[in-house]
């Protein structure tokens, strides 16, 4: 079974620039999550999709972050404009459904904002 695919693997940008991350979940997984993991901390949920609908974006800084999952499969997360404190690993995860306990994570995109 193919895992959760994310790209790019690494990204370095200057502050105030924009950046986009891509995620392709495991085939058939209805629920998709984006997490932010700052160095030395646990992942923090940014947004959760059920198919192509948002079910939780309460911790997404909506003034600069946006995410979409238009066809209910792959997803993009965008930051515009980036700040220094956005430097983190952005993890995508998917699960069969919201009630399924086992979420599978991708390797993440390491973002450095300079």
């Amino acid at each position: 079974e193919a895992g959760v695919a994310q790209s790019p693997r690494y990204k370095i940008i200057e502050k105030r620039q924009s950046v986009a991350f891509w995620c392709n979940p495991i085939s058939g997984h209805a629920t998709l999550y984006w997490y932010q993991q700052i160095l030395g901390q646990g992942p923090k949920l940014l947004i959760q999709f059920q198919n192509n609908g948002v079910v939780d974006d309460s911790q997404l800084p909506k003034d600069r972050f946006s995410a979409e999952r238009l066809k209910g499969v792959d997803s993009t997360l965008k930051i515009q404009p980036a700040k220094l404190e956005d430097s983190a690993v952005y993890l995508c995860a998917s699960s069969l459904s919201r009630t399924n306990t086992e979420a599978f994570f991708g390797q993440g995109t390491r973002l450095t904002v300079v």
């Binding site: 629920t31 030395g40 901390q41 993890l91 995860a93 979420a103």
Partner: protein, 110 residues
Amino acid sequence: GESVGLHLPTLSVQEGDNSIINCAYSNSASDYFIWYKQESGKGPQFIIDIRSNMDKRQGQRVTVLLNKTVKHLSLQIAATQPGDSAVYFCAENIWSTLTFGKGTMLLVSP
């Protein structure tokens, strides 16, 4: 890859020892709890979960204990191996949203 273990509590054990990693949670409404393992440069990997109506669950070489009275969760790893070296996170699920704890780094020396 760069470690996510900086400034984390660290547990150092010898190969073959049993390891116990502890976690305190805050929300009594959590309906289940999950332990994840994260190796350097990788995403978290599911290890085992436990529903809030249970107090113990066993997997292969791992046991999770839940004490709801004191809101405490532990992960026991039997016969710890060098490949178990990683950062371990507990996560609590509330209304289908996972909230991760701070993590503990486990270092296993041969």
